[in-house]
């Protein structure tokens, strides 16, 4: 399996293999094994590795068409949620409660 991945990822391995998304914890290698990304931020974190394969499959790397509304607070909530998951994992419930309040506050400003 590892050999197969190396064969496909080639020279990018050294640079990308250990790269992990700070928001969802997905590693670039995880994407290569199941073809799915972990969160919207992965597109930014793994750009270097993703763009060539997007170009191959889609024949383009730039979006044309409908645009979404800008919601800058949402990216911040994604980060807070990842911190919340970590707090719950280490059983720091005080911190978890604080993060939940923060997310709720931000939710009001979607």
């Amino acid at each position: 399996m590892q050999g197969l991945i190396l064969q496909h990822v080639g020279g990018l391995v050294g640079e990308l293999a250990e790269l992990a998304c700070p928001d969802c914890g997905t590693r670039y290698m995880d994407y290569w094994s199941d073809g799915r990304l972990g969160c919207p931020q992965d597109y930014r974190v793994f750009t270097k590795g993703l763009l060539p394969s997007i170009q191959r499959y889609q024949g383009a790397t730039r979006h044309v068409g409908k645009t979404a509304r800008l919601r800058p607070a949402a990216v911040h909530r994604l980060r807070l949620r990842s911190q919340l998951r970590e707090a719950v994992a280490r059983e720091d419930y005080e911190e978890a409660a604080r993060l939940r309040d923060q997310i709720r506050l931000k939710d009001k400003h979607a």
Partner: protein, 354 residues
């Protein structure tokens, strides 16, 4: 709206209305959308999936869309199969895990899956060949949901999806076409190869990997990035009429070359469906396809297309069991299917669209 309500009705997309509906059963567009502030479904925890479901439900309510929400996580396998047969959920949604579901409007034009591969898979279907109208409807619905949902989006890559094969517009534009003529004259593979060359996908009735079913096929785009929604729709609205032309020519050749043979084949198919005492799903699809083409060629005049379209769905295993109100084994289903067909086809006078 409950699942039992659905068993008593059928979707608008089966009505056989709209342009080219002798061949184009329905036009369908789906949009893949994700919430910007959650991990994609495959990485989301149970709690996060439940939150996503909650956000979606309130967005739907605020948009004032009258829809029933079916909790796929808590339902029986039979009910999941039933929604799958109706084209309201995908196989992936049916076999997935954790909080997930589908919102469906009473006419079944809209079906929005929550926590499938992407957080939202918004589907809009209309009978006949009406892709631009489907786009107008679905983009308005998308805007309404966006009032309450922050979509994952980047200015360079567009709508961000769990799998990069859907990134950009996140759109799949498709038509479901009935091609018995091209199957009969064995030109169908040639047509499919030509479509694949221009980057269009051809799938069976039940999507990716499903076998062709009653000579129905779905033709849709594969590329989602680098072309606008309108451009992708235009590819389909330019190419599908050529496929329709080939199918019409194939049917015409069948009827001019071997009219008596074709009339015999269609009448026998109708006869078996009206009188059989036990019949498999496979044989039913095969015969219904023949009858459907027979109606379109004027060889059967006492049955409507809408009834035949409905029968393709309502003779599926989960539908028969829901109609009967009990679980049935294969043999029992074959008897129930034959009985259901007899009752629909002997009492089945032409049904008005509307």
């Amino acid at each position: 709206m409950t699942l039992d309500d659905l068993t008593r009705t059928s979707g608008e997309w089966l009505r056989g209305a709209g342009p080219e509906s002798d061949i184009v059963m329905c036009s369908r567009i789906r949009l893949a959308r994700n919430l910007a502030d959650f991990p994609f479904t495959n990485r989301a925890s149970r709690n996060e999936k439940a939150e996503i479901e909650g956000h979606f439900k309130s967005a739907l309510e605020n948009a004032g869309i009258e829809a029933g929400y079916f909790d796929v996580n808590g339902m029986s396998n039979l009910d999941r199969q039933f929604l799958l047969e109706r084209q309201l959920i995908s196989n992936e949604m049916s076999t997935g895990e954790g909080p997930r579901g589908v919102a469906v409007t009473p006419k079944e034009n809209i079906a929005i899956m929550v926590n499938e591969e992407d957080h939202l898979r918004i589907q809009y279907m209309l009978s006949g060949f009406r892709l631009p109208q489907v786009w107008d409807e679905i983009t308005a619905l998308d805007d309404q949901l966006e009032d309450d949902i922050a979509y994952a989006y980047s200015s360079s890559l567009g709508y961000l999806t769990a799998c990069p094969t859907n990134v950009g517009t996140g759109i799949r534009v498709g038509v479901m076409v009935h091609l018995p003529g091209l199957v009969a004259n064995k030109e169908i593979d040639k047509v499919f190869r030509a479509l694949q060359k221009i980057n269009l996908a051809v799938r069976g009735f039940y999507g990716e990997g499903s076998q062709a079913f009653g000579d129905f096929y779905q033709i849709s785009n594969q590329q989602t990035l680098g072309k606008s929604e309108e451009e992708l729709i235009k590819i389909l609205t330019d190419v599908v009429p050529q496929v329709l032309q080939y199918e019409r020519k194939a049917r015409q050749d069948l009827i001019t070359g071997r009219r008596q043979h074709l009339h015999d084949q269609v009448s026998r198919a109708y006869g078996v469906l009206k009188t059989a005492q036990t019949i498999s799903s496979e044989e039913t699809m095969f015969l219904l396809s023949s009858v459907r083409m027979g109606i379109n060629l004027g060889l059967i005049d006492d049955l409507s297309i809408a009834v035949v379209n409905e029968l393709f769905i309502q003779t599926q295993p989960a539908h028969l069991q829901k109609l009967r109100g009990s679980e049935l084994g294969v043999e029992e289903r074959n008897v129930a299917r034959a009985s259901y067909l007899r009752s629909r086809l002997t009492n089945g006078r032409p049904v008005e669209d509307g």
